[in-house]
């Protein structure tokens, strides 16, 4: 079993990312969409948290490229290890995991 967790709000505005990361299991995936991508910028408070989670929790972290572009976040400013996907990749992640959990 594995879960795709979606987070659509910035870690600066809401507790959704923190709460999500506290409830993942190794093998799970976390996808940042909408304002959620703001958390993935390197050299930031939330980015450091994500980097730590990548090292400690055994989860994979993804960010939706279309939402990054809209918020002016280039791929080379992402936290190391965060992977960029498009909507087709989002669909694949939903299919590859056994359930999708939205952290609204």
């Amino acid at each position: 079993m594995s879960i795709l967790h979606t987070v659509n709000k910035s870690a600066y505005e809401r507790n959704a990312l923190d709460s999500c990361l506290g409830h993942t299991k190794p093998g799970d995936s976390v996808l940042l969409i909408e304002d959620g991508v703001i958390s993935a910028r390197a050299g930031s408070v939330a980015g450091d948290k994500l980097a730590a989670a990548l090292g400690e929790t055994g989860v994979s972290i993804y960010a939706l490229g279309a939402d990054m572009a809209a918020r002016g976040i280039p791929e080379d400013k992402l936290v190391d290890g965060v992977k960029v996907v498009d909507y087709a990749g989002f669909v694949d992640l939903a299919a590859e995991n056994d359930a999708v959990e939205a952290w609204l």
Partner: protein, 141 residues
């Protein structure tokens, strides 16, 4: 992907409640879906984490805000065989709450001579994460 029972598919449904009642409509609507879902004979669990624990706090009184107090409806869940209400201990602790601050929700166990038993189970964060892994469908509000 779930077992077959009584001619239909039975899946594990988790209702994820992370917000308090009244400030937004999600708590009320989550409860509405749970009640409707009872007719579909699915395997239903409710998770209360973050501010969601406030949904089942004792002593709610909504007269001053003009809204209906729907918290008594949680008492009816047991009659619909919905008796797996998981409340996260860490979420209670952060908010200065204990199990005693929650409504004493119960159900009658038909496998144990209809003994009255508590519907609320306090679990820690790791156990809550395990519970999530065990679901077919997770509904977030």
């Amino acid at each position: 992907m779930g077992d077959m029972s009584e001619g239909g598919t039975t899946k594990k449904f988790l209702y994820l409640n992370r917000k308090a009642s009244y400030g937004t409509v999600y708590a009320l609507e989550s409860l509405e879906v749970v009640l409707i879902a009872a007719a579909f004979e699915q395997d239903v669990s409710l998770a209360f984490i973050d501010d969601g624990v406030y949904q089942i706090i004792k002593g709610q009184d909504t007269k001053g805000i003009g809204m209906k107090n729907f918290s008594p409806t949680f008492n009816a869940l047991g009659d619909y065989d919905i008796n797996k209400l998981y409340v996260e201990k860490e979420s209670l602790d952060e908010r200065g709450l204990t199990e005693d601050d929650l409504m004493p929700l119960v159900y009658e166990d038909e496998d144990d001579d209809w003994a009255e038993k508590p519907s609320i189970k306090i679990v820690n964060r790791a156990e809550m994460a395990d519970l999530m892994q065990d679901q077919d469908v997770i509904l977030s509000f």
